[in-house]
């Protein structure tokens, strides 16, 4: 089934000066770590179910 996708329609992204706080950097790393763990778990489950 073909769904219509909406094109990214912005003139710019971000702002200057663009500096992350230490807390924001920690949050990003935490999210990525947790996301990778979820992906690994899902892959393992998928392999077990095959």
């Amino acid at each position: 089934m073909k769904n219509k996708r909406i094109e990214l329609d912005v003139d710019f992204i971000g702002s200057q000066p663009s500096k992350l706080t230490k807390e924001e950097e920690r949050m990003i790393s935490e999210y990525i770590r947790s996301h990778k763990a979820k992906m690994r778990l899902k892959t393992t489950k998928d392999r077990v179910n095959v």
């Binding site: 912005v10 710019f12 992204i13 971000g14 990003i28 790393s29 999210y31």
Partner: protein, 177 residues
């Protein structure tokens, strides 16, 4: 890239890939993304209606600035992106379409999408599994969720994770995968 198909990623392409489209004629033009030089930025000034100070981005040694151009027309910049490769992701500092590609009177569509997809590709190339982080304005969070598959996870932070990155790369760079 057969592996992606085997993982069951369901994508749909609504534009010609790795290209931008003239909004009036509907013609598509293949694009290149290359690292920018100081000389490229001569005309990229606030006076010429660019929003950001791109010369300032070049002063940060940890950041890489790239330009999107039409193939065989390297002198006309269609858009710019500033990226920083971090320890576990690529941070997208800035993206900007050229002044003539902004607003309702833009000449080409697809510029920001191409640039973001390029950032995702770079993230894979650097071993960060496509993960991209960026800061969003509050009123644009929903738009990024819908168009980029980005996740908002607090404050002004957004992430494009592996699956969303694969979809964007497939959408914009299918002809090279």
């Amino acid at each position: 890239m057969k592996k992606l198909v085997n993982q069951g990623i369901d994508i749909e392409i609504d534009e010609l890939t790795n290209s931008i489209k003239n909004v009036i004629s509907g013609d598509s033009f293949s694009t290149d993304i290359t690292r920018i030089t100081k000389a490229d930025l001569k005309a990229v000034t606030k006076k010429n209606d660019w929003q950001f100070d791109w010369k300032l981005e070049l002063k940060y040694p940890e950041r890489d600035v790239f330009k999107l151009t039409i193939v065989n027309n390297q002198t006309i910049i269609q858009g710019l992106i500033s990226l920083e490769v971090k320890s576990d992701h690529v941070f997208m500092n800035l993206v900007e379409s050229a002044p003539f590609n902004k607003g309702k009177t833009k000449i080409y569509s697809g510029v920001p999408g191409n640039l973001v997809a390029f950032a995702c590709k770079l993230s894979f190339q650097r071993g960060h599994e496509g993960n991209i982080a960026f800061i969003s304005k509050t009123q644009l969070i929903d738009h990024y969720v819908e168009t980029l598959g980005a996740v908002h996870f607090g404050g002004r932070l957004m992430i494009i994770d592996t699956n969303a990155a694969l979809k964007l790369i497939n959408r914009y760079f299918t002809n090279i995968i």
